[in-house]
């Protein structure tokens, strides 16, 4: 119970600081939004590949396979869309902090094995999808100007909400 509370508190703190940062910084433009969404997808693909390299749990591996496939599929669509629109995704502070946090988490997970790894990976998938979904619904979708970009982000949000539920269910079986 303590660890779950700590996790929730940590996720809440992160979401709050992200919201505060969003208030202080100007809203992201479409090129930055595309970069953030693409980076977020790449991070989860990398996390899924790490799980496939380390986990022996059938349910965890199936989940990781879906994460790799789905996030790659959405990112392929995103790349095709920015190409079509003639937009070059623009690096920004949010993408950089997402990537830095993911690097730290990957290092932390790399030190775990077996059931401990499975638990930590799945818990992080719950927290990560919650954070990304919060950013999509609270910041990225409302600020997207291009209708097709907004549409793709909305498709992504419905997919990632399902991923979050899937991860929450999985978390119950690996705790």
């Amino acid at each position: 119970m303590i660890s779950r509370f700590t996790l929730c508190a940590a996720a809440a703190t992160f979401a709050l600081s992200a919201a505060a940062a969003a208030h202080a910084a100007p809203p992201p433009n479409d090129a930055q939004i595309a970069h953030i969404a693409y980076t977020a997808g790449q991070i989860d693909v990398a996390a899924g590949k790490q799980a496939l390299a380390k986990s022996h749990n059938k349910a965890v591996r199936s989940f990781a396979q879906v994460m790799v496939r789905d996030h790659n599929a959405v990112n392929d669509q995103a790349l095709a869309l920015v190409k079509k629109l003639g937009v070059t995704p623009q690096a920004n502070g949010t993408s950089a902090s997402l990537a830095a946090a993911a690097k730290r988490k990957a290092r932390e997970l790399s030190m775990l094995k077996g059931a401990a790894f499975d638990r930590a990976y799945v818990r992080n998938e719950v927290a990560y999808h919650r954070t990304v979904n919060g950013a999509l619904s609270g910041t990225l979708i409302p600020n997207a100007h291009n209708a097709e970009l907004k549409g793709l982000l909305e498709t992504g949000l419905s997919l990632f909400r399902e991923h979050q539920m899937h991860a929450e269910q999985l978390a119950k079986s690996v705790r």
Partner: protein
């Protein structure tokens, strides 16, 4: 010879009825229904009858399955793929996507 002829006639009639009537009835009543999968959702599933065919069409950018809870069917669909399921028994058949368990639907099969 008369009895043999009679037996043959009866047998022929039996074959004729088996061949002509039953498939004709089935062909007249069996229907094909299309269920489109798009944006993480199954489209509306009409009420079907035993013998009907469902054509699953995946218009999503993601790979999905339509998997019966009772495992009476399980189709795995890459993006843009489609597949057919013939309904073999009556009642309600809940189904879901193995890759996205939050995606759910139900086929209601009229008759037995």
């Amino acid at each position: 010879m008369a009895w043999a002829k009679r037996v043959l006639t009866i047998a022929a009639a039996g074959i004729a009825s088996a061949v002509a009537v039953t498939p004709a009835e089935a062909a007249a009543s069996a229907r094909t229904h299309v269920v489109v999968i798009a944006k993480m959702k199954y489209g509306a599933v009409p009420t079907v009858r035993v013998g009907d065919t469902i054509v699953w069409v995946n218009k999503d950018i993601l790979r999905h399955t339509a998997t019966a809870r009772d495992r009476s069917f399980d189709v795995d669909l890459a993006p843009s793929a489609s597949a057919k399921t013939v309904i073999r028994h009556g009642g309600a058949v809940p189904f879901y996507c193995r890759f996205h368990p939050g995606m759910k639907g139900q086929i209601n099969v009229a008759g037995k």
